[in-house]
Amino acid sequence: MLVVKEYEALLEAYGRAGGNLDALRNNEVGNLVIHENKVLSVQEADGIKVETKETESGVSIHFLVEEGAKIEYPVHLCFGVLPEEGLQEIMLRVEAQNNSAVNVIAHCIFPNAVDVIHKMDADIKIGDNAKFSYRETHYHGEIGGIKVIPKAKIVVGKGAVWESTFSLIQGSVGLLDYDFEIFGDEKSTNELLVKVFGKKEDDISIVEKIHLNGQGARGLAKSRLVLNDNAKAMVRGETYGNAPFARGHVDCLEIVNGDGVIARAIPVVYVNDKQAKVTHEAAIGSVDKKQMQTLMARGLSEEEAVDIIVKGILR
């Protein structure tokens, strides 16, 4: 009975935050719902096996996509802590076997956090010619009393594709310590994208590392941040071209929109093969003047113009 109550409360919070409830209630859609250290719902789809084990402070998950399985609908993962205080440690082991394809959407819901820690340690293996798309969206409250610490090691096989988007633009970030590292084999595609809207006293650290170890591997470490008030951010995008014809790019944009903001970007590009190529671009500054003038020449106020530009960057 308690589990049902928690489940409904979590979904209600998710719905209030603008999430798509139909997807989580659809019987044909694979999903996994976890509140604190309790597994509230597991629904496997054809071609997907999910094993979970509750621990003292979280849940261990083994997520398997079977060889050759092409999962039609996105699989939804829902993690949350509803009380003001709590600790949630997710140990995630993902195995996408050869030639599989899946789209996973994770919703992380912490609407009331005053002193909450959400940690994720992920060990992910993408088989040869498999395709794995992972989108993680956070829904936070306005207090900012939360620490979000997602770490992942991702091994991407030959001809395989990894694309991930981490998005934290709703509510206060609190403390974010994001660290994803990818190892891409021959002709693999490896893309990391982070979008964060920092406000108040938010403290943001983002590390994106891509090792292009196989011939012809491609990588993109991209980040988009908008920082208001006194938010602090450090973005470190690293790409290593270790094989012939590896192509990588680091792309960081931080929009500084507050007097107390501190923004740093450290792009690292490293090449140890003469036929590899890695490029980078990093821009930190206020909202682009020409974009502002263009929108204001359409009759928008300065605030309205900033709003449109920021929403576009974080979309």
Binding site: L253, K290, Q291, A297, R298, L300, S301, E302, I309, G312
Partner: protein
Amino acid sequence: MLQVKYLKLTLNGNPIINELNLEVKEGKIHGLLGVNGAGKTSLANLIMGISYPDEGSIIFEEQDITRCTISERGKMGITMAWQEPARFEGLSVGEYLRVSNNLGVNDIENYLWMVGLPPGEYLDRAVDANLSGGERKRVELASVLALKPKVAVLDEPDSGIDVVSLPHIMNGITEMSKQGSAVLLITHSEEAVRVAEEVSIICAGEIINSGPPREMCRWFRDNCQTCPHIGEPSYKGV
């Protein structure tokens, strides 16, 4: 509709715009022809409120708007298409065309057709670096059309354009006039300025001649294209 009176602008003591007078009439296309460095873009920026003159005034519908902000001018119905339009990450063409109006999809599609962009291919594309220069300029014109402005300042809409895009750009400008907008068409191309009802020639920040397009194009060819001021900054003086 829009009058520029004795406008002066100096930069580091050098005159950029020098006692310039110009009038753009309601529903008409006024061409402004000049070589690089003549002061064309500086004048466009002054009219839009991106910069302010040292002296002189800009009158719109009998109101002095010389010190009005860009937004205030935009709200009054003055707008501009930049020579190099800004790119917007995460903003679709459809959204860009609806930035400050409530037009329906059919209207937006019509404006895209007017500049030769099939809506099915372009409505959902981002107004970012993935659009070519010609596509971006056509989107810019479509967005100005969608605003139905009282005055549209078009800063070299024809420059750097591929041959496929050019007729669509010119069609967009003509449509703008048809829907009642006064257009200041800034260009260094004799071809482009032929759609105008009246043409003024600018050199070293001054209007040095005005008249019908055919006559002014001939005058421009005979005088400006052989003038040693070609490519020189206007502050070098005549």
